[in-house]
């Protein structure tokens, strides 16, 4: 079980909650369960979400494991120059 913190506009997709407890071993499972439990996440996942695990931001490594007790933070996928 990991606790996931949602950034501002994401919490609306989770019915106003800013933290969710989800049973997930990696980012892929986290995203799948987020979409299952909160269908409003689907378009946001399509648009792109990054995951910060203990402060390190992952954009595409969906196989990245979520260590127990890690701080998991969902962020928008950013543009760069």
């Amino acid at each position: 079980m990991v606790q996931v913190t949602l950034w501002g506009s994401l919490s609306a997709a989770a019915g106003g909650k800013d933290k969710l407890d989800i049973e997930a071993k990696d980012i892929r499972e986290l995203f799948r369960k987020l979409a299952e439990q909160h269908p409003a996440f689907e378009p946001l996942l399509d648009r792109g979400i990054a995951v910060a695990i203990d402060g390190t931001i992952y954009r595409d490594t969906w196989s990245k494991e979520l260590p127990p007790g890690a701080e998991i933070f969902l962020l928008p996928r950013l543009a760069g120059g």
Partner: protein, 754 residues
């Protein structure tokens, strides 16, 4: 990903040295081929007709006269670029921006295009196209666009991010909020509070090379695109989607690039060139003029920002708050959101709140510009931080050191930081001789901090070893800042050979797997990780071949300093085999020797910089001259320190132009008044002092060599550092960028009049 990216703390032989750049001679002799230097047999000249109106309904377009003109081979409108975006709102905006459909949304918006046998005929044809416009009221100012009576740009935009969906559409596409703690409680604890509003005007990246491409679509559905871009694989994806082409049948080759800085991460003319070529049945070359680049490519946002920061007498910040309004052009964006995330990222704050508003205006579609959105937020925050330090009576560097984020700090945008470099850059600035250099009359000193995320992404690299022992390295990230040299150093380091034995190229989209573009300061970070992986895979093959040559087990072969070495006493008589010797025998030991890598290079470390700036302001003319400038930035590990210094200097130079001169000026008619380098003045060499640099190396734990991205962070502090310097020189807080002479004189006059 079968690759361990963790930092190993190793020592280096090649990495960290400063060899000559491999592309240097071609560039200074004019042999290097940029976007407009490519030609195909039978190519036509493409030209685009652009709206003269800031906001207008396109009632009718009559192209019949242009089509009848001798020498015209194709005329296209939005009808020739049908909507194939399948509900992808972002791609639809890109399509509409490439060719207006129902409305022209800014001065310069493309409405039609022609392909003709020469430029003269193409220009004549544009004049024969009749467009019936119904001109609408327009809005270009960020604050005016938010007013309820402002002209509505898109009636399908209802502000996202509010608790309840609004009942009416508006020009605000999204509200976002970041932060933690309770700012009201924090401000109640403050002994000093600074609250101020700031504005920054829209600027362009100012790359020297305009957008240019040659497109050729064949009747069998295959196509070629030669183009100046920061990401040819991304351009391939976007063009294929917009044109209905199969991705693997569209081959995109990137040219050398004369600057991008985020502005070449987005397709503008390329789908138009492909559509013209498809209709004409011949290759089409389309090169933007400078006027078109200014009016119709992607500048950064204009902004309006309110900042409030409170601190105790001892210099501890108790609360920080900002409201950031950023223009997006006429399409929804996420520019204010990035500003809201970065604004207070340098600081350790218990109570922080930022709110961003994305604002639609009748200006060109905003694109990324080097650490997009962060410089404007840093300008506002770092100006207020400086002012607060002054009110408390504490040195501005000490004030920042006291409040700097560190490992374990919760960032204002959410996560907790790992090892970071803001503290060390501030300590280095405190000790830097620049801080003790004397200042004369009318001179002032300022300093400021800046933050950028950096990111990685999908990356694919091939490393091939020739039979003479030389190495070719094919990468898919466009070389915008010297990455071919840096990646050659990395390949040489891993293989244990000399840098001169490696030749790096940027491969086309049909020769290599997909690569994300060179943005987010990811080029060297990502492709160096893939190069290390490819080189290690090649070393596995080299060891196997050496084992064959010696007829021993591969488990007994190690790779040391460019040689295969037989391990163990039983192999004591075997001499080393060099890479060259193994390569020479490759035809007889299993064929070509190569290493390949495809991976997602995630885990880019965040980056911080602190800049110091001295200026002299002429109180009679308001003219400002930068007389001394120093950049201190964390690079993680500088692979090629000269290029890293170049990135630091380049970011500072662009920031100086942005701070002092550059600005999009619109007339009351909504038309851009200064679309050229005579009236939109970027700094030239004679405007700049020697920009001193200091590289700090705080290793990124998520890269084998500790590398962090370095390309973008250097443009974040300059607006604020220069504003603080000018404010100190003239004794008036400057709150509007650019600080052009008229604006400085107006501020001085306002101060005199009280």
């Amino acid at each position: 990903m079968n690759f361990d990216p963790r930092y190993s703390g190793r020592s280096f032989s090649s990495v960290g040295t400063r060899p000559l750049r491999p592309d240097g001679v071609d560039k200074v002799t004019g042999r290097a081929r940029y976007g407009a230097d490519f030609n195909m047999a039978g190519q036509l000249v493409g030209r685009v007709l652009r709206s003269p109106h800031a906001h207008a309904i396109i009632k009718k377009i009559d192209t019949s006269k242009a089509e009848k003109l001798a020498g015209v081979k194709a005329v296209i409108t939005a009808k020739d670029l049908p909507d194939l975006t399948d509900g992808d709102a972002g791609m639809f905006d890109t399509l509409d921006n490439c060719m207006a459909r129902k409305k022209a949304l800014y001065d310069g918006h493309a409405v039609a295009a022609v392909a003709a046998i020469d430029a003269r005929t193409a220009r004549q044809a544009l004049k024969l196209i009749e467009v019936d416009y119904e001109v609408l009221p327009h809005v270009t100012d960020v604050d005016e666009a938010m007013q309820h009576h402002a002209p509505l740009i898109n009636d399908a935009i209802f502000t996202e991010g509010l608790e309840e969906k609004p009942v009416k559409p508006s020009n605000v596409s999204k509200r976002t909020q970041y932060g933690h703690g309770d700012v009201h409680q924090g401000f109640a604890q403050a002994d000093f509070v600074v609250e101020r509003s700031f504005k920054t005007e829209q600027t362009h990246q100012g790359y020297i090379e305009p957008h240019a491409c040659v497109a050729s679509v064949n009747p069998d559905g295959t196509a070629d695109l030669w183009v100046c871009t920061q990401g040819h694989f991304v351009y391939r994806q976007h063009c294929a989607q917009l044109l209905g082409l199969e991705v693997s049948k569209l081959r995109v080759t990137s040219s050398e690039i004369g600057g991008g800085f985020g502005g070449k991460t987005h397709v503008w003319a390329e789908p138009v060139a492909l559509a013209l070529s498809r209709k004409a049945g011949r290759p089409v070359k389309l090169v933007m003029t400078r006027d078109e680049v200014f009016r119709a490519s992607g500048p950064t946002s204009a902004t309006s920002i309110d900042v409030k920061i409170g601190a105790r007498k001892d210099g501890t910040i108790t609360a920080a708050e900002a409201t950031l309004r950023y223009t997006c052009g006429p399409y929804a964006g996420m520019w204010a959101e990035i500003g809201a995330m970065t604004a207070f990222a340098c600081y350790k704050l218990e109570n922080v709140k930022t709110v961003g508003y994305e604002v639609l205006v009748n200006r060109p579609k905003t694109a990324a510009y080097r650490a997009p959105s962060a410089p404007m937020a840093a300008f506002a925050v770092e100006s207020a931080v400086d002012e607060l330090a002054k009110e408390i009576g504490i040195d501005p560097v000490e004030f920042r050191i006291k409040n700097a984020a560190q490992e374990g700090t919760r960032a204002s945008y959410g996560p907790v930081y790992g090892p970071i470099g803001i503290g060390p850059t501030l300590e280095a600035v405190k000790e830097h001789p620049h801080m003790r250099a004397p200042l004369a009359q009318n001179q002032g000193r300022g300093m400021a901090c800046g933050f950028w995320f950096n990111f990685g992404g999908q990356t694919c690299t091939d490393l091939n070893i020739g039979m003479d022992g030389t190495v070719s390295l094919a990468v898919g990230t466009v070389d915008v800042g010297g990455s071919r040299a840096s990646l050659s150093l990395v390949a040489a380091e891993e293989l244990g050979i000399d840098y001169s034995q490696v030749k790096a190229i940027v491969a086309d989209t049909s020769s290599l797997g997909y690569n994300d573009m060179t943005d987010g300061s990811r080029g060297t970070f990502s492709s160096s990780m893939a190069t290390i992986s490819a080189a290690r895979n090649a070393i596995k093959v080299l060891r196997e071949r050496a084992a064959q040559m010696w007829d021993i087990s591969v488990d007994d072969v190690a790779w040391e300093k460019g040689h295969a070495v037989a391990k163990g006493e039983k192999h004591g008589n075997l001499g080393k085999l060099s890479l060259k010797e193994i390569a020479a025998q490759s035809g007889k030991t299993g064929g070509p020797i190569a290493g390949h890598s495809e991976l997602v290079a995630d885990g880019a470390g965040v980056s911080f910089a602190t800049h110091i700036c001295d200026v002299e302001v002429d109180p009679e003319t308001g003219s400002t001259r930068v007389i001394r400038y120093t950049v201190v930035q964390d690079a993680g590990k500088a692979v090629h320190p000269t290029y890293v210094e170049g990135q630091y200097q380049g970011g500072a130079a662009q920031g100086i132009g942005w701070a002092l001169n550059e600005e999009y000026i619109y007339g009351k008619d909504g038309r851009l008044q200064n679309p050229g380098f005579l009236d939109y003045r970027i700094p030239v060499c004679s405007d700049l002092p020697m920009i001193d640099t200091q590289i700090l190396e705080i290793p990124n734990p998520n890269h084998p060599y500790g590398v962090r991205g370095v390309g973008e962070t250097s443009i974040v502090p300059p607006l604020a550092a220069i504003a603080n310097a000018v404010s100190n020189a003239v004794g008036v807080r400057m709150s509007h960028i650019p600080m052009s002479p008229p604006r400085i004189l107006a501020a001085l006059e306002a101060e005199r009049e009280g």
